[in-house]
Each structure stands twice: as C-alpha cells, then as structure tokens.
Point group: D3
Chain length 124, copies 6
C-alpha cells in the first residue's frame, strides 16, 4: 500500500481534480515520475499537513506563482483550485493586490489576466 | 488632512511599529519620499483594504518575499509583523513549507533561517 | 478634486494614451482599483516627479521590464511609450544591448522580438 | 580574418545549425550586432573553450534556461542542440528532474512541455 | 523500514556528508520535517535516480543555484559536493563561465567568489 | 594589437577605474578569462558603442542590477560608476524610485541602502 500516493491523490482531488488528470496525462509518456512526485511529494507530503488549512495553502500557492512569474499554466490550475477549496473571487484578486507593493504592477497584471479568464470560463 | 498618510501610519503600527520607525529613519536623508510611499501606498492604500484580514495579508507578504529572494531585511520586518497580527510561529514555518513544491529548497531554507533568528530574538 | 488621479491621467497620456485606455478597460470589471493605483501611484506619484525626464524614465522602465522577464504585455506598452516620449528605435535597441553583460542573451532576445513587432506595426 | 566569428559559426553549427540561421535571420534588420555577439562571444569565446565537452555545456545551458524562466524560445534551440551534441532524450528529462529540489515543479513542468514538443517534432 | 530516508542519507553522504549534518542540525528545532524532505525527496527520490551520474547531477545543481541567485549557502554545500563526487575545480569554474551568455556577469561573479572561498578553505 | 581589450580597458577606466582593478585582481588566480571577457565584451564591445551616452548606459545598468536582485557588489561598482560618468546622486535615487511600480519596494530599498553607503563613503 502506497499511503503517500493515496494521500496525494485524495488531496489533489480536493484542490483541483480535473487539472490533476490533465497534468498526469500530459506527463504520462515523457516524464511519468514527475507526475508521481507531484502526487506523493507536493500533495501527499505537503498539502496534507496540518498547521494551515487548504484555503491558506492555496493563498500561499497563488502568491508564490504570481511572484515567480512565467507560471500561467500553474496559475490556472491553482486559481481554479483556490475557488474549489472555498476562496472567493474577491479574495483571490485581493491577494494579488496585496502583492503590488512587493512585486510591482507587471506580475500582478499578469495574474489578474489569468484570473479573469478562469472566472469567465466558470460563468459559462 | 492627509488621510492616506494617517491610515498608512495606523496600519503599519498594527503590523510592525518598531520596524516602521527604523525604515523611515534610514530613508530620511536619502529618499524620504520612498518612506512616504510605503506609508501612503503600501499601508494606506493596500493594507487597509477589506477582503482579506491582516493575517492573510501577512501570509501573502511573507510568501512573496520568500519567493522573490534577496529580501532578508524585509522578511525580518514581516515575520515579526506576521507574529504581531496573530499568526503563530508554526503557521509561518508551515507557509514556508507550502512553498517547497513551488520554489524548491534553497529559498525555503533561506526564509527559515531568517525566521529562526527572529523567533530566537523574541525569546530573549 | 483628486489631484493624483488627474496628474496620473495626464502623465499616462503623455507616455502612452492608447495603451492606458486598453489596460483600464481590461481591469474595469475584475480589479478597477488596480487601474486606479496605476494612474494615481505609478503615473500620478512617480512619473510626474522631477529629477529625471520622461525619456530617462522610460529607459529605466523598459530596462526593468526586460530584466525581470515574463513582461511581454508591459514591454509592448512601454516600447510604444518610449517612442512616444522621444526615444528613437535605435536608442531602445541600444538599451537592450546594454543589458547583455548583465542579464545574458535570452532576455535581450525576448525584448528585441517585442520591439520588432512594435516597430513593424508602427510602419503600417 | 575574424577568428572569433569563424570559431563561433563553427561551434554554433555543431550545436544547432538550423536554429542559428533562424536567429540570425530574425535579428538581421533590427539588431544584427546581437547576432554577431552570439556568434563571437557565446559560441566563439565560450562554447569553444576546453574544460567541459559540448554535452556538459548543453547540460549547463538547458539547466540555466529552465531555472531563469521565460525562455521557451531558447529552450527549444538548446533542447534540440542537446540532442545534436549527443545527450539522449532521457538525459535531458533527467536533468530537468534534477532541478526539482532547487526550483520546484512549475519551471520543471514548463521545460518538460517544451521538450515534449521538440521530441515529438523530431519523430515526424 | 524507511527506504527513501535510508537512500537519501546514503546519497547525501556521497555528495556532502559534513554539510548534511550541519543543515539537519540547524533545522532540528525549527523545521525538522524540512530536513526529512531534503533526505527523502531531494536525495532519496531524485539524486538516487539513474540516467545521470552524480557528476552530472552536481553540474545541474550548481548551475541552477548560480542562475537563481541568493543561494550562497547552498552553493557552498554543492561546490564542495561537486568536488566530492569528482568534478575538478577547473570544471566547476568552467560551468560557471558557460553560464555567462545566459545570465550575464553579476551572477557568475557571485558564484566564482563562493568557489574561491571553498577552494581556498580546502587548501588549508 | 588587441583593440577590443584596449578599448575595454579605456571604457572601464572612464566608468570606474578603481573597481576595475579590484575585480581583475580578485579574478586573477581563479578565473582570469572572466576578467578578460569583462574588459573585451562588456566594456570593449558594449560600453564603447554609440547610440547611448555613458550616463544613459549607467542608468540602464543600475536599473538592471536593481531589478535582478542579489547584486550588491555590482551595484556598488556601478553606483560609483554612475557618479563618475556624471549622473547626480539625485538622479540615481530617482532612477531607483522609477522602478517602484515595476518591481515593488523590497528591491528598491535594497538598492537605496547600497547607494547610501556609497554616497556616505564619498563624503569622507
């Protein structure tokens, strides 16, 4: 029994099950172990920890993605995930605005543009 | 009456009053307007907004500082600030651990080293 | 009367009026306050300062955008803005070349590709 | 006789001749000197040095490109170049996986996506 | 039996046993799980993989650390580790020089300064 | 006759002769070719170009160094160099302030702290 893998699958489903499947599928032929590490390490070891709830973990995640830049694909997954664990659209945008004094406008505008697409998609 | 400046001073005091004084003092002779922008824009315009509480705002802030790197001085201010607005030591470390899958070990180890110093100082 | 907002609108018009309208429009429904901060803080507080002229400010801006990477959208706005305040195409490319020893080829090639598009568009 | 230019052309051909022509062509009208610096400095001065072989140099190059982010175009050139100098598909992916503990998942996933495209193209 | 932890300890000893002990000790009171993740994930899961040998893995590692910047502490560990797995001083410097066209001079000079200290220490 | 090396030495002397000597000395035993590349490529090929004057080139340089972070040593050299080619203290600080909307406060505060040291040193 692989507890870390099981835990990871369960956690990832709680955050963003659809994206999970897509990422795993895209890695299958080229780097399946990276998919396994995402499940076992990122979701099995880290997301499952106590100390912060899933809303706080997604707040940290989208902030880190916004700050490092060049993460459009991952931001899509985790903005959707943020909504899925219970953050509101307003809170997500507010987290991006809180980054303004620390990273300036360009990265915040990039992240807002991704959020705008996700929010619009969800309305259809 | 300069409402933004007053609001900024009030917000900064809530986050980390001591650091505020130090930063302002260090900017006084060389770039006093930057001190004013920190108060008016970062704290007057942004921290005072609704939508996220101060604990969430500091969670976003320390994550952004960890992620961009080369921010030891600012991390000191905002780890102290995070404690001041009510985050626990455990939550701060947990936020850093949540960054592991997104930025890797080096930046997380850097931030933990800063937190270790701050936590130790607070015990004396 | 909101002097900062008025000043910001005036400054942004001097730099790149068309882009300004587009950015504001794209932010209107999702994060209008970010548009307000761009006008009041970036353009009202910063661009309007003395000490450097608009050509020097745009030189600084495009250099910062090139260096941080993942800023194609903003580079478009400010390469156009650089031309608008009086920098020549040659000076813009020369600023990018000056970055070579400090950031290496990839980011410089990225910025040149954006400039190439803008310069070509302007010829039509 | 321009030895550096000749050496650079020869080295670049060994790494990725096709891409070389494309990059030079795209720079011709806008910044031809940057093309010359790529040949003379990057390939003439650096790639031609002893101390590391071309496989090791490409390993370093794709790692640096992955790590800095926003380098899709350059990664394409140098993943192709890595194969051309004798690294295997497996070794390239393995180098990306080795970056996981140092940069986290997002940048590694970005680089894998680029490699996937290149590997697929080569099969057609 | 925790195979990943055992494997990680064994791999880390092969790379840099002394540094390993120091890092674990510094994490013990504040974030012991991060030490465990370094052993289990970075060294147990990743370094132990086939496909690249330890010299190639350290080449990738020091390149990634140089490129991201603000990693002096980690560079010390892995420059020492690079020597320990069999890279020569000349090869390490050569890897840094290979980064010049991709990241520019400042980060390369930073990494050379760290290497200089490590090489000198080893001579005493 | 090595024109590029001679030109580079001459340009570097115009920007910051003292720092030049120090950097070359520190590289002499470990990576002398990097010193040669700084002279030949950075100063011989790039700084000597027409299109921008030395004040504009230093403006670009300090902006790029501020923006990428972890460049304290290089910022010292080029803040001194900026003064040497004729930029005023006020213009240097103003360039840093112009970066605020693009990179946020932390990197600007770091650069101001370096400038403060250099300006104070020059007064003694």
């Amino acid at each position: 029994m692989n507890t870390r893998l099981d835990t990871g699958k369960e956690m990832l489903k709680q955050v963003n099950g659809q994206a999970a499947d897509d990422v795993m599928k895209s890695l299958r032929d080229i780097a399946p172990d990276v998919g396994k590490f995402i499940l076992e390490f990122a979701f099995g070891d880290i997301y499952s920890r106590s100390g912060l709830d899933l809303k706080q973990r997604e707040l940290v995640t989208i902030t880190s993605l916004l700050t490092q830049g060049d993460t459009e694909g991952q931001l899509k997954v985790h903005i959707q995930g943020s909504l899925h664990v219970g953050l509101t659209e307003k809170q997500i945008i507010e987290a991006f605005i809180q980054c303004l004094p620390y990273v300036g406008f360009p990265k915040v505008l990039n992240a807002i543009a991704v959020a705008k697409d996700i929010f619009a998609q969800n309305k259809n």
